[in-house]
Symmetry: C2
Subunit: 125 residues, 2 copies
């Protein structure tokens, strides 16, 4: 992997952001200081970094994919009202993973799991 300024900026934007940014977020965030940056470059780098295990790509139902700099095994909660994506760790999934494999031969990647639901904040409204 060859160095590039853009890649460094893009990776750091994901790593330093408590939120789970989308490509569009990264693009607009960096655009302020880097007017020449292109959206294609952001997509290319986010995907490239995810393929090289420097980021995780999170599929969001009915929404843009977003990216996560936390590489340790964990899952996500996606609020269907406000779209917020938060981290959660559910160790019990290991057992479920194993029993599904034994029953069906299907090997789950539990760390790709996104639970849909309604977050506490949205429920209060």
């Amino acid at each position: 992997m060859r160095y590039s300024k853009q890649r460094e900026l893009i990776l750091n934007t994901v790593l330093n952001n408590r939120v789970h940014p989308t490509a569009d977020f990264v693009y607009n965030f960096l655009r302020e200081d880097n007017p020449g940056l292109s959206l294609g470059t952001v997509y290319r780098n986010l995907n490239f970094l995810a393929e090289n295990n420097m980021l995780k790509k999170i599929s969001v139902p009915n929404g843009s994919d977003c990216f996560d700099g936390t590489l340790t095994d964990h899952q996500h909660l996606v609020c269907v009202k406000c779209g917020e994506v938060s981290d959660i760790c559910i160790p019990e999934l290991i057992n479920i993973e194993k029993s599904i494999f034994d029953k069906t031969g299907f090997s789950i990647n539990t760390s790709s799991l996104a639970f849909e639901g309604i977050c506490g904040k949205c429920k209060k409204k």
Copy 2:
């Protein structure tokens, strides 16, 4: 809800198909006998039927949404190699659901869960 021939055909296509059909599948399947049918109508009806709890809409990571006529609580396994979507029932999720709610206030809809992974057939190759 007013009756329409198209709606009836579309609903039946999902109900009578062991696979979890996408809008495009339903469209092409019905097109043979109903040349006038439009893709917009298929989308409109599938979404409408899902909103009215006559079908379930399943978000497939990196793929087209698909639909499921089985309304009882269950989850899905999505193979990232071949794209196959299969049904599975994981009763243990009730406990996980409850403990996440107690910890975070987030209420999960477990029946929207799609586990990504590799199915038995694809692994053999």
